[in-house]
């Protein structure tokens, strides 16, 4: 027998109680894993883009368009290497599936987003095909689209000049990401801006946002200020921010996901704390004479503390890892495609492991301290 064996023997003293407690830990960490993945997904939309780009939008809201006549002025600002513009298309697939589609100039998209990897031949086809569209690998996979397909996409914002909201595009390219994170975020489609600009009923010569690739990312704040100052007090005042900040603002339309997730997790872990904490405390109360005997035999206060803490830790570690493992599998099953790629990734695991350590200490420390401070004489006398 080892000390570890002794810890496990004590945990299995009341199997039903241990299994039920373990299940509650598993469930909590399953929720934790999935919710953290949601949180990471929304913040990753901000994080993974890096700091090489700025986004210029209308000062009031990005739902307001900017006139294309601003383009030369933006391009002329020192430090701006390349500018693209894009317009939110409001794409709807089939009955009511919202997709993330933008109208963009193919050449400029290619140069501003070098992270998108696609064969040159497909980039050329996108430039040369007025009704062309390209989509990310995940999107193509999810809807079973292949190059050469004619894809009917409706827009819930922009009708064609004949009043029809149904558009048909030729899929000419499927791009991938340069690395794992970009590959996970291949859920956006682009249509050719030139065609959109001509064919939509609401007129031409406007863009939702300008996206600026910078020569030197360290100049981002200065350049943003310069752009906004340039258009201050004009009919088209602008708000320029890093792509990361823009994405955060975009996702906040849905709500402060981070805050919502934190509150749900707080409730889950508070309940878990009570459940597991009570179980460990009860388990210590039940065997005070046994703990006193351990001390009688020569186990020090520290030994007894570590036994009880180890029991709490084993429960939290096994339950936590199982929960996170389950969340990872669910993430793989349901998160492969869609507009929002859900993935229980390394960041979620790191946070999860920290939560396991924190929970172990939170539920185990007080009962362990109580056990370690037992007076042998009083405990053996039942006082």
């Amino acid at each position: 027998m080892t000390r570890t064996g002794f810890v496990f023997a004590n945990l299995l003293r009341k199997k039903t109680r241990t299994v039920l407690t373990l299940l509650s830990v598993v469930t909590a960490f399953l929720l934790f894993g999935l919710l953290q993945a949601v949180n990471v997904m929304f913040s990753a939309g901000a994080d993974f883009v890096g700091a090489t780009r700025l986004v210029t939008q209308a000062r009031v809201s990005f739902t307001q368009s900017l006139p294309m006549r601003l383009l030369p002025e933006v391009e002329a600002i020192p430090g701006v290497a390349r500018v693209m513009w894009q317009q939110w298309f409001g794409a709807v697939w089939q009955e009511n599936t919202q997709l993330i589609f933008f109208a963009a100039d193919p050449g400029r998209l290619h140069s501003v987003y070098p992270e998108y990897v696609m064969p040159d031949q497909q980039w050329r086809a996108f430039e040369e095909t007025r009704t062309g569209m390209i989509v990310g690998r995940n999107l193509a996979k999810q809807y079973g689209w292949h190059i050469g397909d004619k894809v009917p996409i409706a827009s819930n914002i922009f009708p064609q000049k004949d009043g029809s909201k149904a558009w048909i595009f030729d899929l000419v390219g499927i791009y991938d990401g340069k690395d794992e994170e970009w590959q996970r975020n291949t859920n956006v489609g682009y249509i050719n801006y030139a065609y959109f600009d001509e064919a939509n009923q609401f007129g031409s010569g406007f863009a939702g946002t300008f996206i600026l690739r910078l020569a030197d990312p360290d100049q981002a704040q200065q350049i943003a200020k310069t752009i906004d100052a340039r258009f201050e007090n004009s009919p088209d005042e602008t708000k320029t921010q890093t792509e990361k900040d823009f994405n955060i603002g975009f996702f906040k339309q849905i709500g402060d996901i981070g805050l919502i997730v934190r509150w749900i997790l707080f409730a889950v872990f508070f309940t878990l704390l009570l459940v597991v904490g009570n179980t460990i405390a009860q388990s210590v109360r039940e065997r005070i004479p046994e703990l006193a005997i351990l001390k009688t035999l020569g186990f020090t206060d520290g030994n007894v503390l570590s036994f009880v803490l180890a029991e709490a830790a084993v429960m939290c570690v096994i339950g936590g890892l199982l929960g996170l493992g389950l969340a990872t599998m669910i993430g793989i099953v349901i998160g492969g495609g869609g507009n929002f790629p859900l993935a229980v990734d390394r960041q979620v695991w790191i946070t999860g492991v920290l939560a396991i350590v924190g929970l172990s200490l939170a539920v185990g420390l007080l009962p362990a301290l109580r056990a370690s401070r037992l007076s042998i004489v009083d405990a053996l006398a039942g006082r």
């Binding site: 005997i293 001390k295 009688t296 020569g298 053996l380």
Partner: protein, 225 residues
């Protein structure tokens, strides 16, 4: 082996201070087998706890095997107990989740012995108490007498110099009690263990070499067994 000099011990119970031992002194030579008798509240168990290093005196000196144990810290005392003292209690106090052999092995986890050495020591202790065939049984699968034998084996396994027995037969029938006391006597006579035993039972005290009587926290007499 054991020298208790002018020991006082008092406890605080609520708002009251209860004085249990009043300047008690005694000596127990190495290899002795002493029975402590006396009415409830006379301080027998308190004295036993002090000799066994489970508690500290309010004042006075306690030397066991040349070591002033009244001056040791909690941690030092724990380590001292692990090396020097074996305990046997009235209600056996075995770990219900462990088998007999695992219960006996428990104190050896505090030593640097290898798993093989520990198994060997456990086997010897089981042999001494005559329970080799019950090694894999848990306490609830054993009779009271067998449980007490396991407790004695656990007390013996780390080869302590002194055995502290608190009413070791208080929960057993006469026949089983005599068997257990016979075993304790063998440990004293054949294995040279110094034994201090608290008992209410005069028949149990007859197994000791001598009996000390306590009353109101003081030693009344010393009588040769």
């Amino acid at each position: 082996m054991v020298r208790v000099s002018n020991v006082y011990k008092s406890y605080v119970r609520g708002k009251q201070t209860v004085e249990v031992l009043h300047g008690l002194s005694l000596e127990i030579p190495k290899g002795d087998f002493v029975a402590l008798m006396g009415p409830s509240g006379s301080g027998k168990t308190t004295l036993l706890n002090l000799i066994g290093g489970l508690d500290q005196p309010t004042s006075g000196e306690i030397l066991v095997g040349g070591q002033r144990i009244d001056q040791l810290s909690g941690g030092q005392l724990a380590r001292w107990r692990a090396r020097n003292v074996g305990f046997v209690f009235q209600f056996y106090n075995l770990m219900p989740v462990l088998t007999a052999e695992r219960n006996i092995e428990l104190p050896l986890l505090l030593t640097g012995l290898s798993a093989a050495q520990r198994r060997k020591s456990v086997a010897v202790a089981l042999e001494v108490v005559g329970l080799t065939d019950r090694a894999r049984h848990k306490p609830r699968e054993l009779s009271g007498g067998q449980e007490q034998r396991v407790a004695i084996a656990r007390a013996l396994v780390s080869d302590p110099t002194i055995l502290i027995c608190d009413e070791p037969t208080g929960d057993l029938d006469r026949k089983t009690a005599d068997e257990i006391l016979g075993l304790v006597q063998v440990l004293n006579r054949d294995h040279g263990k110094t034994i201090v035993m608290v008992t209410h039972d005069p028949k149990a005290a007859e197994f000791a070499r001598r009996t000390l009587h306590l009353e109101k926290g003081q030693l009344l007499e010393q009588a040769a067994a």
